[in-house]
Structure formats: C-alpha cells, structure tokens
C-alpha cells in the first residue's frame, strides 16, 4: 500500500477512535455524579443551580449535551474549566502540556537506547553476571512503586540541592519546556536549573521503563537466538556480535517497538504520580485535579489530547514495524 493511502486510512481510523473514546468518556463522566457540581459552590442556592444547569445544557438529554460539546470542539472550543477559575480548557492544556512533553521526550530519548543496550547485553550474557545485574536493576525498577521511588529521590536529592521543585527561570517561555527554552536563550545557569527541576522525575521514569523494555528485549532476543537462521549465520562464520545485532535483534525488535510505542504514548500523556511528587505541573496532574473536582469538561479535553498522542504513537510504531520487518507492509 502506498504511504499516502496508509496515512489517509489511519487518520480516518484515528478520528473514529477519538470520537468513540470521547463519547464513552463523555457518557461515563456525565453519568457519575451530578455534572453541575464543578460549576457551583456550597453557597449557590438551588434556584441558581437550575439556571447554571440550563446555561451549560446539563438539563438536556446526554446525546444533545454531547452534540454541543462536539460542535464546540469543531470550533476549537473545549469549554471552560471551573476548577481552574473558568480558564479555557484548550489554553490550560497547552500551558501544562510542555512540562509533560519535556519529561516524555527525554524519557524516550534515554530509555530506548539504554533499554536496547541493556536488553542486548543481558541476552548475550544470559545467566552470567551482567544478566544477573540487569535482572536486579529491572526487578527493582518494576516492583518499587513510582511514588516510593520518587519520594526517596526527593528526600535524598532535594536535601542535597541536586533537585528543584519550583524554580524560577529568567528566560522567556517559548516552547514551555525549560531545558529547551534555556538552550534557545543561551542561558547556561538556567539550563542547569531546568535540569535540576527535571532530573528526579526523569530518573524514576527511565528506571521503571528501562526495567520493562530491557526484559522484553532480552526475552525476544533469546528466543530469536535459538532459531534456525541464527544457527545458519553462525555456521557461515558470522561473529556472535554481528549475529545478535545485525540479524537477531532486528527481528526481536517487534515486541520492543510495541512496548516502547505504547509506553511513549503514556509518557507523553503525563504521569500523575511523578508530577505530583516532583511538583511538575503537567497534564497528568491537571487530569487528576479535573477528576477529583468532577470537572468533566476538563477530563474530556485531557482524554482527547491523550487520544491524539496515543494514536500518533501507534502510527509511528506501525511505520517502525514496517521498517524493521520487511514482512510487514503498511496496511497489511
């Protein structure tokens, strides 16, 4: 299939997925509790509550409410968030997204090569010391809850001034990602401060994700190394390193790409726990705040945004599949 057809087909599919997800979340959020809750306070008299209900169409049938929401979305209006002082939701998401995206980008850039290396080293040295060390690293990473890891790092690194939780930056906000904005401004000390704001959260994210990805790659690699084509390559005199990296690993990458693709989507959608512990005001925290305040409009905005991110991540994963495995053609 041609690439352009693939893109069109996947885009149409993505829109369908997003509508389906948004409808499901819309129905759930409007059904759980009273949707007027975020718009009122405890001193709002009952008569005024009914006026507010009518104003935001909350007294209409649910399909009518959804239609209003969808119509607003098509005009670029995701509504207002009562939790954040009736700020426009689109604006809130754009304000909070860069902090999450920054952490997500660094997590991807660091986790993927580290996991590739670690998984390969573990597979090559199966049941030897490097494999055992890798196993300990991985088990520690995936068995320790992120908030425990985060709090421990906070106590150690914050007290040692290696980490910041609420820094001031003297450069202008361009991307909203402090490390990138510092580079753009040529501000070295700002760059250092930005890294001190990032490093704790990044350690937790990288550790927990490398732990999983490295083990997946190790298992896939060991499986590939037992196959006939590897035996043939060895018989032809190809050295072990080349066998593993040039032959086996390419085929083992399919599972790795699956995990990395899905994880990347989650990393870019924000982790509530990480953002709360390290005081990174990103979209994960925004979403948690929206949920606890029954701010269904903000929850929907978040769902839509993460839907777009996940769909994009899956799209990139599909392209990578086709690249690494010629047996997989786009759209097939």
């Amino acid at each position: 299939m041609k690439f352009s057809s693939f893109v069109i087909r996947r885009s149409a599919f993505a829109i369908g997925v997003l509508i389906g997800v948004s409808l499901l979340v819309f129905v759930i959020t409007r059904s759980l509790g009273d949707p007027v809750t975020p718009y009122i306070t405890h001193t709002t008299p009952k008569s005024a509550v009914e006026l507010i209900r009518a104003k935001y169409h909350l007294d209409e049938p649910i399909y009518v409410q959804y239609a209003y929401w969808l119509w607003g979305l098509l005009q670029g209006d995701l509504g207002l968030s009562p939790t954040y002082g009736y700020a426009p939701i689109a604006e809130l998401l754009l304000t909070y997204l860069p902090v999450t995206a920054e952490l997500g980008i660094y997590t991807i850039v660091i986790s993927v090569p580290v996991a590739l290396w670690l998984g390969t080293v573990s597979a090559r040295n199966k049941d030897k010391t490097p494999d055992h060390l890798s196993r300990v690293f991985s088990i520690a990473g995936w068995s320790m809850p992120q908030f425990v890891m985060g709090l421990l790092l906070m106590y150690v690194m914050y007290s040692a001034h290696l980490l910041e939780v609420s820094p001031t930056f003297n450069f202008n906000r361009v991307t909203g990602m402090p490390t990138f904005d510092a580079i753009l401004a040529g501000d070295l000390s700002g760059f250092v401060d930005a890294w001190r704001y990032l490093i704790g959260a990044l350690i937790v994210m990288v550790w927990t994700n490398v732990a999983i990805m490295a083990r997946v790659l190790r298992s896939s690699l060991i499986e590939e190394m037992g196959k006939d084509y590897v035996t043939t390559a060895r018989a032809k005199g190809v050295n072990e390193s080349a066998v593993m990296i040039r032959h086996a690993r390419k085929n083992a990458l399919i599972s790795f790409i699956t995990i990395a693709g899905v994880s990347a989507g989650f990393w870019l959608s924000g982790s509530v726990i990480i953002e709360t512990v390290f005081n990174r005001l990103g979209i994960g925290l925004l979403a948690a705040s929206a949920a606890t305040h029954y701010d269904s409009a903000l929850v929907l905005g978040f769902v839509l945004l993460t839907g777009v991110i996940m769909v994009t991540a899956n799209f990139i994963a599909d392209i990578l599949y086709a690249h690494f495995d010629p047996r997989i053609r786009l759209g097939e």
Partner: protein
C-alpha cells in the same frame, strides 16, 4: 511570561513571602464570579473595599472603613451612604472616586454570576436572585453617586442591618472604571447576564488601589503580588508575595525545611510532623469560618436511595424524637479527636455561630453523646416502629472532606449498631449537591462574619434548606427580622431566640468548627488568619520577617 513562578534561591529573602498552597483553584481574579480562596486573597490584597474586617489579631468586630472614611445608615436601613476617603489613588495614579465604586458594584449586578458572592447584595439591593437578569433601570436606581462630595449611596429595596457586614466580605474590592472600560470591559447599560469577562478574570483589566498589585498569574500554578510603594495606608514591609500550588504534602514539607517557602497548608493528620520539628511552627486557627454539620433530609427521595435502604419514608426526619435520637447517638468527642486530632473545637454547645460572635448562644446546641438518651428517643420515634423495624440508610459526604467524614461515618455506624443491631448506617462518597438526596449528609457552611450567615443554612432560600427541605415558619420569621434589624442589641435578642428555636427543633446535627492549620518558619511574623476573610495566605501588609537572607 516566564514559568514557573517561584524562587530557587536556598532560603526566601526577607522582603519576600512565599506560601505553598494545596488548593488548585488558581486562575480567576474577577470579583464577580469569584468564590474560591485564591481569588478572595488576591482581591483582599490588591483591591481596597469600601469597608472591611481588619481582624488585626484574627478577631471579628464591626467592619471598619477602608476606602470609605465615614458613612451613614438610614434608621430604617434603606440607604447606606459612604464618603470616599480623600487622597486614595489607583496604581496608575488616578484618584479613587465614588463613580469607580459604583462601576464595581454595577458589574456585580449586571453579570449577576450565580457562582460568585453577588447574592450577598442582590436580595436587598434589587430584590432579584442570583443568576437572574436584572434590568438596567433597577441597577442604576440601586446605586447613585454624588460626584461633588465623592459620596456613593446604596438604595435598598429590602432594608437590612447586615448590608455593611456583607459589603465587608473580601469580594467587593474596588477597581478603576475608566481603565476597565478603556480595555474592553463592561460598559454600564450592557446586558451581560451570564457572560464572562476574560480580561477581568486574568486580572489584565483590574486597576486597584490596594497595597499590592497582581503581577503574575498562571492558572493552576500560582501567582505573584508586588508591593504598591505608593499605597495610601503606607507601603507594606514585604515587597513580593508568591503563592504556589504544591499538591503533595511531603513536597511542601521539604520546601519548608529548606526554607524555600515561608508557610504551607497543613491537614490535621500530618500536623504532628510539624509539631515535632523544632525548625517549624504550627499555626492553628480554631475557627476557619466554617461550621461542620450532618444534615437531615426532610424530604427523602426514597426512589433514589441505594439498593438495600430500608425502614425510611420521605418525611422520616420530621419526627423530633428521631432527630434527637440521632443527635444523642453521634460520638462528638471521639470524632473530634480521631478525625481532627483535637484541632477542631466542638460546635456544641454554642451552636452554628462560634463563641464570641454576635448570635452565638451558650446553649445553642445542647446535645452530646448519650447512648441512653438516644435509646429512649429511638423507642419513641414513629410510635416505636423505628426501634422495632430498624433501618439501613446512607450517610453521604464529599471528596474534599473524605478523611474526617469517613471517620465520622464509621464511628456513627458503630454507635448506632451498639444501640440497636438493626440500625445500619452506610457511609458513602457523593458529590455536591446530589449527595443531599440521601437521608444524612455531612457538609460545611460559613458561620460568619455576621450572624446572618446562619440564614444560609436555616432560612428559606438558603442552600441548607433548599437541599434539605427543612422549613420552620417561626424560625424564618426570626431570621428575616434579624437580617432587617439595624440595632445591635435588638439583633442580639433576636438571635438568642433563633438559637433557642434551633436548640428545640434540632434541624441538623452540629459537629465541629473547622480549624485552619498552617506550617510556618519561625521568621514569619504577623500572620493572621481571620474567619472574616477565610483565605490561606492572609493579609500580606500585616506580615514581616525577622532575620531571613
């Protein structure tokens, strides 16, 4: 705009006050729709009001003049005339005039936003209710000015003695009319009912005259106030006030210990960590301005109850014996100890209005934990049927009260079971206002600064009675009289009668006054929490720091 907001310098400097809050609702500055803590804090610190509660030591006395230096009240309470103090200027340099004050209040009436506190004025100024469209004629007649003498007069359609106290609530900060209009805000005469002014919300169009001005606001992150060096009352000691949203307690504690913030919000369950740390101080205000109560539902929608509910009818709580039984069955002291670790004073015996306040009664709530009396009353309730048949009912609470309310529910359930094993109480999390559909609901309501706030809970039209369907004609009449009366001694007597009636009729179960707790560095001086303001960060001009970096 640079982001985020707060300093990395190890230790806050002595001309800076930094507060770490656990409240997310940062993002709205417009006084009209304002209801939350942060917008009230910004208004109090950046916009002077006609009158206010100085509360220098946290006490609640009569309101005092801020922009107004003198005022007269008609003997029947139908007009309030204020003279605007000479020499007060907005930050931009223009003088504050009666016309600016008028514009401020006209905006309240014109937008009539039901989420805000405009209802403190509406019923008396215009006779309209929150959320309704108010015709321009009614708005213009309600507030008039005499530019020659710089006086403003409020003409009440319903005379009241509480108008002055309501004006002093930290919502009615004044801003410059010309600046607002020139930058796209409301033009008098426009129909803006139900609309939003985004430039006012962000603070862009607000030109106040207060001791600080808002220089940075990032929705959901925090805000910065910078000192007005030309403030008519004298510039404050602290140059910069920074409030930042830090949701996680352990992070707030670390920031305090490192001196990165001066003060931080604390919940009772972690207060011991502050008390045991010699580098920190625990500030406790026993009354945050809120009374907590368990509300009886007088018109229970039986069909909306969870599965398993039994033994009730829609008018179940109309039986006074049943209400008394529930009141005697609640373990008040155990609850206050376990849920609030002793930081919350019991609301009995003084009643809804806390001790020391006009309207507070020495025996306003004469119920204490007494299982024997509870048993007696249960046996009398509904001719003995309640005792015989038992019941299974839901007790609702909201997420933000989860900790204490769940403890209260569990203690209550155990107490009822001990009285009669057929009595089952099921605590359940709900949200406002639908959890009032259940037979019992725990909630909080404001208890001041004026006695009339009791009407929001017990009077017709108040949120308390509108959700619980409680109604008592005699009580309503007294509350209306109390609101209308301008003589303090007579009001005192009226509220004594109100409390006597409440004590007899027992509309709700009163548990505690909500405390406010804060952890602070010892270098912070002058911090005051006032139940009249109900804001975490306090009034910054009172604050100074000793030592510092």
């Amino acid at each position: 705009m640079t982001s985020p907001i707060v300093t990395t310098t190890p230790g806050v400097s002595s001309d800076e006050y930094v507060y770490a809050t656990d409240l997310a609702e940062l993002g709205e500055v417009d006084p009209v729709p304002c209801s939350g803590d942060h917008c009230r804090a910004i208004i109090l610190n950046t916009m002077d009001a006609l009158v206010w509660y100085p509360s220098k030591t946290g006490e609640l006395k009569e309101p005092e003049g801020q922009l107004a230096d003198t005022w007269t009240i008609a003997p029947d309470g139908s007009t309030y005339t204020f003279h605007i103090r000479d020499g007060v200027k907005f930050w931009g340099g223009n003088p504050v005039t009666a016309a600016d004050v008028r514009y401020t209040f006209q905006r309240f009436l014109a937008y009539n936003n039901p989420t805000g506190f405009g209802w403190l004025l509406l019923p008396w100024l215009t006779g309209h209710q929150a959320g309704e469209y108010i015709p321009w004629d009614d708005i213009s007649k309600a507030i008039t000015v005499d530019n020659a003498t710089n006086r403003i007069t409020f003409h009440l359609t319903v005379p009241t003695g509480v108008f002055l106290s309501n004006l002093a609530f930290p919502i009615f900060g004044v801003y410059e009319a010309k600046y607002a209009m020139e930058h796209g805000s409301y033009i008098p005469g426009q129909n803006v009912t139900g609309l939003k002014d985004s430039k006012m919300s962000s603070g862009e169009n607000i030109m106040g005259s207060g001791p600080y001005r808002l220089t940075e606001l990032i929705a959901g992150e925090g805000y910065v106030l910078t000192r007005n060096d030309n403030y008519w009352g004298g510039p404050p000691k602290i140059k910069t006030v920074k409030v930042l949203y830090v949701p996680e307690w352990s992070t707030r504690l670390l920031m305090l210990k490192r001196g990165q913030v001066d003060a931080a919000a604390v919940s009772p369950d972690v207060a011991s960590q502050v008390k045991s740390d010699p580098s920190l101080k625990l500030f406790v205000a026993p009354n945050s301005g809120f009374t907590e109560a368990i509300f009886f539902n007088y018109n229970i929608p039986v069909q909306k109850q969870p599965a398993g509910t039994q033994g009730i009818a829609s008018d179940w709580f109309r039986d006074i014996h049943l209400r008394r039984a529930f009141a005697y069955a609640f373990p008040y002291e155990d609850y206050a100890k376990q849920a609030y670790l002793g930081y919350a004073p019991l609301a009995g015996p003084a009643g809804w209005l806390p001790p020391g306040q006009l309207g507070s009664a020495p025996n306003g709530y004469p119920y204490s934990y007494d299982p024997a009396k509870a048993t007696e009353e249960f046996k009398l309730a509904w001719g003995g049927k309640v005792w015989e048949n038992g019941f299974t009912i839901t007790y609702g609470y909201q997420d933000f009260m989860k900790g204490p309310a769940l403890i209260g529910g569990q203690l209550y359930a155990e107490s009822l079971q001990k009285i009669n094993p057929k009595f089952k109480l099921i605590p359940a999390l709900g949200n406002w206002p639908s959890f009032f559909d259940w037979p019992l609901a725990m909630a909080v309501g404001q208890n001041g600064p004026d006695a009339n706030w009791i009407s929001t809970v017990y009077g017709v039209g108040g949120w308390g009675t509108s959700y619980t369907s409680y109604d008592n004609d005699a009580l309503n009449k007294l509350l209306v009289q109390g609101a209308a009366e301008t003589d303090t001694a007579k009001r005192e007597q009226i509220y004594t009668d109100v409390n006597a009636l409440i004590a007899t009729d027992l509309p709700y179960i009163l548990t505690v006054y909500w405390p406010y707790l804060m952890a602070e560095l010892p270098s912070l001086q002058g911090y005051v929490y006032s139940a009249a303001w109900q804001i975490q960060v306090g009034y910054a001009p009172y604050i100074s720091k000793s030592g510092g970096t």
